[in-house]
Symmetry: D2
Subunit: 149 residues, 4 copies
């Protein structure tokens, strides 16, 4: 079942794991993450993200529901409340429905959030074409490649 | 919750629903289907497929686990047992794991199967690029478009 | 991952597996079953049931959603349509919602159905107290005990 | 879909919600909680718990997998590492497998954790009999009853 602090295991001492850059094609700016768990049978995965002021995630669709716990900062979804979207302010919880599309997810302050993902994220271009399909297998591969260095 | 015989409802009288051609980019030959249910919260969906002799599904990856009940005929997965893959013979049950890749799924006899899908199918080209990402929303859209005609 | 025809594996040749009596405290009459699959990570399980005319399942609550494919016969849920409940007639599909309570599930004809269960069944007495909580672990234990004889 | 700060909705401003005592039959001492979300289709639910030093949860089985994020303090599972169990120290992540049985879950320091539950908790007595089956419906009912006062 894997070792402690290994996302294939059952326990991670979060502060003992180094932050890793989140793959650049998926975000703007220096977002870093720690992959906490993958559930290979169902394709669920769980991670924590460090998002400095001014960073953002690129356009994506949640192919299954996701739940976040924003522990620090502020997250603007679809432009934030000022632009008709939503703004989450820590400490807060949010549920992202299956098929939710996020054209802009921006962090106007230094922020941190924990999130469980049921299924893959579909990163898309403006026309809706898949740029990267990021599920439990892909995040585990990316994590293992980055931490093996 | 939808009407009977509507995949957004809770009950379908299967023999009262007409078979619809399964979208041609996803298969070879005259495969037909009936969409039985979509679960919008989780992205699960359930369908039954009619696969005449000689038809096949195009290359795809199961982005979440799927379970099939082959009620008639024979299904060759990855070339079938003769080519190092697997052959299902009715009546049989099969579990397709999350991230299972099926380069060839062929029906050497007239066949029929019922299947529950946990999450989307990722139809891909030879290089692994996404051609069509088919989840609960997409199958419902395709079904409603086809049956509204 | 288990052998073929073992519910911990990925493939079952259904007609090569013997029917086993479904545990008597859970039903009335000679209902028989074949356990087809258990998914230990998520607690899902899949089975097929043979329900002769006059048999019934005892009072239970679905602790997670379930989906059935009635391939033969007729199933009366909550007394059937004659008593304000519902009657399924083969071939049919039904979705049982999370927390659905079934006080009576009767088979007025020889019937057969395949069903996927997301989570446990909570068999209860009239007062709603748990008599037997039947999840993936319990069905696997019951199946292995019965087939080891 | 419910209002903000309502567990049937999509967003909760956690610090705007009052802590509520967690039902006494399920724990020892003054554990308090905030129910953050229920997913009625699948039976998932999410909550945050405030566990003062010396409190504990009563014996229970996870009927589906659960994932926790311990943000403060220390949690001893099955007696803690000193007694052959495990001890989580904040900040940490843990995965509780489907069918995990927790005879003792104790907090030797003031602690707080966020947890997502896939399915119900089965609180049991020493003999393994169900004392309370606590799923998405039950937690929502308990939460609504407590916050309506």
């Amino acid at each position: 079942m894997g070792q402690p602090n290994d996302p294939t295991g059952d326990y991670t001492q979060i502060n003992a794991v180094d932050w890793i850059p989140f793959p650049p094609p998926l975000c703007q700016g220096n977002i870093r993450w720690k992959l906490l768990h993958v559930s290979p049978e169902s394709g669920r995965w769980t991670a924590i993200f460090d998002c400095p002021k001014g960073t953002s995630f690129n356009r994506h669709i949640h192919m299954g529901p996701g739940e976040y716990f924003l522990t620090k900062g502020r997250m603007n979804v679809r432009g934030g409340t000022d632009a008709g979207g939503a703004t989450a302010v820590a400490p807060s919880y949010g549920y992202e429905a299956c098929n939710a599309r996020h054209d802009h997810t921006e962090f106007p302050e230094d922020s941190e959030f924990y999130m469980t993902f049921m299924g893959p994220l579909n990163f898309i271009d403006e026309a809706g074409n898949t740029v990267a399909l990021v599920g439990s297998r892909e995040v585990l591969g990316a994590w293992q490649a980055a931490t093996a260095r």
